[in-house]
């Protein structure tokens, strides 16, 4: 992979910045150059709240290369409040207690270390939404 590759995705990875389509008004994540709904260009950056709920989930015991040290870990499709689905790991949760529909929120975590340089890739994961005291 490489440093530049992760660096140029920093605003979406660290802050869940996507886009809102100026034409159809839909919110888009991850960001693109062309709206997948109306095919118009020119979107405006949109900061997602990070709140959503679990659409589906599974736990990985046979990880791809680079993720061995984290296994087993749980991945999910999270339905964001603003509409889009996002693929991410779940964190701070017992896999036995995860359920479809469960409210979750985005947190920033270490995703992996890459290559002999040990570049640490940070990005979004989701955890069960904390209840107000």
């Amino acid at each position: 992979m490489g440093i530049a590759r992760d660096w140029r995705l920093r605003s979406q990875r660290y802050a869940l910045v996507g886009e809102i389509c100026d034409d159809c008004g839909r919110k888009i994540f991850p960001p693109r150059d062309v709206c997948p709904y109306c095919a118009e260009e020119a979107q405006t950056p949109f900061h997602f709240s990070g709140r959503g709920e679990i659409y589906s989930h599974t736990t990985i015991y046979n990880p791809p290369a680079g993720f061995e040290e984290f296994a087993p870990y749980t991945v999910a499709l999270v339905k964001l409040e603003e509409g889009p689905l996002v693929t991410a790991q779940l964190t701070d949760v017992d896999p036995q207690e995860i359920a479809i529909g469960q409210p979750v929120e985005m947190v920033t975590r270490k995703i992996r270390e890459e290559g002999p340089e040990g570049l640490i890739v940070y990005g979004y994961k989701f955890r069960p939404r904390l209840q107000a005291a």
């Binding site: 659409y55 015991y61 046979n62 290369a65 499709l77 996002v86 693929t87 479809i100 992996r112 990005g123």
Partner: protein, 384 residues
Amino acid sequence: MRDVSIIGIGQTPVGEHWNRSLRHLAYDAIAAAMQDAGIERADALYVGNMLSGEISGQSHLGPLIADFAGLRGIEAVKIEGACAGGAAAVRIGYLAVASGLQDIVICAGVEKMTDEVGSRLTSALAQAADADHETVHGISFVALNALLMRRYMYEYGVRHEDFAGFAINSHANAVGNPNAMFRRPITLEAFKRAGMVAAPINLLDSSPMADGAAAVILCPSEQAREFTDDAVRIAASAMATDSLSLHDRHDPLWLQAAQDSARRAYRQAGVGPADIDLFELHDAFTIMAALSLEATGFADRGRGWQLAANGDIRPDGRIPICTMGGLKARGHPVGATGVYQIVEAVQQLRGKAGDCQIPNVHLAMTQNIGGSGATIVTHILEGG
């Protein structure tokens, strides 16, 4: 546009070929297909393959395999569409012959998977997904299918064992196919207690990784009689795409590219689902079989699993599927699978499928799926 027919087929057994490399496997299938068609040369070679760069450190398969097969100098190129690369290569060959620009075309699919194992093979397969937005999070290919299957079970109130019929049917059918990897039946009990891979997907929901190669020879239908009395006409050929990532689908539980490519194929052939005598579908995981049946019009949304539960998919059922073992039991050498499906449909239409023969087959459909549904290629073949 010219009508196009298949005049020769070839395949290696699917399995662990420790003594044969990528190029040897491709040659074995191509040589068998050329012999079957009675040809010694061709105008072009299209090679379906996914993983040669990752696993064999080998790109640039077109000239490598053309030269190795004794065809040095012809037009040759690799066609890549993840697990749909095989049928995509046939699609490109079809376009070449139908256009009138080429007469004799070889479409081959080859995959050498067993030279890599474990996490590196898992990584290689995950390249079918979005690197920046799916695989970066450690997603594996099984996991993407598991996300689909869990949501499907949740939305439609389906139990895991309701999918068992897909795996049981494929294994039962593979018993009669000498080229299949797993030629033994499995029971419902075995399905229910199989080891978990990524819940809810267990080992017997999943097709095995394998080595293999298959090839078909295409020519204009008007010339087919010069080569064989057994020609099979390509009544329809269609490819469609969807978003690469699962999370970008407008409806994750609907294979839009399966519906789009099947509709185009039905329209081209002038037929509908009720006219299809057998369907070689892409049962990489049992959930994919259910989704494929729904999107192609054989079952209503959320009901694809019922065709497995009620026996409709068996050889004596309404719409036999995976008649020679499917991906589940014939094996899934990813970039070759789409060509195997077409080779098997030709065997059936020729009436030469041996113990796997389905009686009275006139129209056969094949559907090859790349990624979690991003590239889908559908063919309809018509017997003579």
